[in-house]
């Protein structure tokens, strides 16, 4: 049981990493510099 839980935890962590990689990559590709404004407070 612990073995399965442990492996699931490792898979979950890998899935979160992969999810963020895909999300960030998509946002970089779709980024439009014209809409950007420097945050100067």
């Amino acid at each position: 049981m612990n073995l399965i839980l442990g492996i699931l935890l490792v898979i979950l962590t890998c899935a979160v990493i992969l999810g963020i990689v895909l999300l960030a990559n998509r946002n970089i590709r779709n980024y439009d510099e014209k809409n950007h404004e420097n945050f100067l407070s």
Partner: protein, 509 residues
């Protein structure tokens, strides 16, 4: 230099100029170098190895199977939140600068000092780890007895070597960082293959690393497991290095965030593989947990004296690389903070060596402050020899709390600024989390609060007292002087373009 990267460099310089800063540091780091510096500061061969005994003592083998991925799961979210801010505000002050702009200059001032405290802890902790490994190995070669004094001397020599290399230039340090990243991966591979094929009495079955309920401490298991999380949590620190070297990175709004995020991700994967094999090769967990250095004990028991010693030397060199990168990160943070006059004698620490284009004085201040922290602990041990908490645990707990609180403040301020409509989607850089940013920030903050409390409760209460003492000192410094005199990075925004260009020309001549 290709025309494309020269043009990119010019764009990056203009970006920095918009924040009121001149391009003083040499911008020469590529994406891999930016990743490598954080990967080297995280250094799975330092944190996970030097605190291996701590993890095993409290959490047993289950600490490696459950503790490591559990901490990594949340740290990944912290890293993603930090990466998003680095892409939006790409300056070397990083956490401090973000907090100043998202909140106000006083938030920034406190963030910088808390970050600085954590940085002292991390540099001291890393180089002390190198000394803890190198000194017994040197002792066996030269035939002396390793003790606290010899460890402190070796620690000083290691710090000195890092100070000199950092002083003479970012190009050399960046090269070392690149080598370090590959070196870490190669050594983990050598370690894993050696343990897989040459362990004296074979490996234990895989379910051993997921065995929970066994602690070698006198605490109840659930509590002991939480204390043991320091091993993984300390390993996953220092990835703000990619943000602190952002003014030395080409195309930093994309490369530095990736450096932050991927350094944590790869450290999780390679660190987990290493911990699995090291733990499965344990022959007597109780004896290993009770040994003065559990990692050395496990490796020499599993692989024998000579082969084990060679591997330990290789691991020690990886730790040395880690210390080298951590001083780079620390000195850049101090340089950026001093540039805005946030520290006593700021003018000195913000000074750039004309010859090497490095913040030379800030580098040596980093070396001295780290030595002082270790020396204080050494003196305390002389006064009270019964002190059972190891120096390394004390230093690492301070660095975890200092660094993670400093990571958390700009995230909190970003959420507040977002709620007030001050920080809007148009302010995000190209590396962003879109609509998931807020949720990831909230989870990251909850994790930071949880681990900050966890790291200062008994048996780590000394770290808590030290942090409270430092915080009281900060409040006094703020109320007595900085409250009225610190202008923050907002003051830099008033710098005219003429002055910025004049400064850049001065350094180039």
């Amino acid at each position: 230099m290709s025309q494309v990267s020269e043009q990119q460099r010019l764009e990056d310089k203009k970006d920095l100029n918009r924040f009121g800063y001149a391009q003083e540091l040499l911008r020469s780091m590529g994406g891999f170098s930016n990743f490598a510096i954080s990967f080297s500061v995280i250094s799975i061969l330092t944190g996970a190895v030097s605190l291996y005994g701590h993890g095993l003592l409290y959490g047993g083998p289950g600490m490696m199977g459950f503790g490591w991925p559990l901490v990594a799961l949340f740290v990944i979210l912290v890293a993603a939140s930090m990466a998003e801010l680095a892409s939006a505000i790409p300056t070397a002050g990083a956490l401090y600068h973000w907090a100043s702009l998202l909140g106000n200059k006083r938030w920034g001032w406190y963030t910088a000092w808390i970050n600085l405290i954590g940085q002292i802890g991390i540099v001291a902790g890393i180089d002390y780890s190198v000394a803890l490994f190198a000194d017994p190995l040197l002792a066996s070669v030269f035939g002396y007895t390793s003790n606290d004094t010899t460890i402190l001397i070796v620690f000083a020599v290691i710090l000195l070597s890092h100070g000199i290399l950092n002083h003479v230039g970012i190009k050399l340090v960046a090269k070392f960082n690149d080598i370090s990243a590959w070196y870490h991966i190669i050594i983990v591979a050598v370690l894993v293959v050696s343990l897989a094929f040459f362990t004296n009495s074979g490996l234990k079955p895989l379910d051993y690393i997921f065995q929970v309920g066994q602690t070698f401490s006198d605490k109840p298991y659930a509590f002991a497991f939480l204390i043991g999380l320091l091993q993984a949590q300390w390993t996953f620190t220092g990835y703000d290095a990619s943000a602190h070297t952002i003014e030395e990175t080409i195309n930093p709004r994309i490369r530095a965030p990736w450096g932050i995020f991927t350094s944590v991700a790869y450290s999780f994967v390679f660190g987990f593989i290493m911990l699995v094999f090291v733990t499965l090769s344990i022959q007597d967990a109780g004896a290993a947990a009770g040994a003065s250095n559990a990692f050395i004990y496990v490796i020499t028991e599993a692989l024998g004296g000579t082969f084990g010693n060679i591997l330990l030397w290789l691991v020690t060199l990886a730790m040395w690389f880690c210390g080298l990168s951590s001083i780079t990160s620390f000195s850049r943070m101090m340089y950026a903070f001093s540039r805005d006059k946030g520290m006593p004698f700021s003018k000195q620490w913000a000074e750039i060596s004309r010859k090497f284009r490095t913040p030379a004085k800030a580098i040596w201040l980093a070396v001295i402050l780290s030595f002082i922290l270790a020396a204080i602990d050494y003196i305390l041990k002389l006064i009270n020899p019964d002190n059972t908490v190891g120096t390394i645990v004390f230093m690492t707990a301070i660095s975890v709390v200092g660094l993670y609180v400093a990571y958390g403040i700009p995230m909190l301020l970003r959420l507040v600024a977002q709620a007030k409509g001050k920080f809007q989607p148009k302010h995000l850089g190209p590396w962003n989390l879109g609509k998931y940013g807020r949720l990831i920030n909230v989870i990251s903050l909850l994790w930071i609060i949880f681990i900050s409390v966890l790291m200062v409760i008994p048996p780590n209460q000394n770290a808590g007292y030290a942090l409270i003492g430092m915080f009281v000192l900060l409040i006094l410094m703020d109320l007595l002087y900085y409250n009225k005199h610190f202008e923050g990075p907002q003051a830099a925004l008033k710098t005219s373009m003429k002055e910025i260009l004049k400064r850049e020309k001065e350094l180039e001549s």
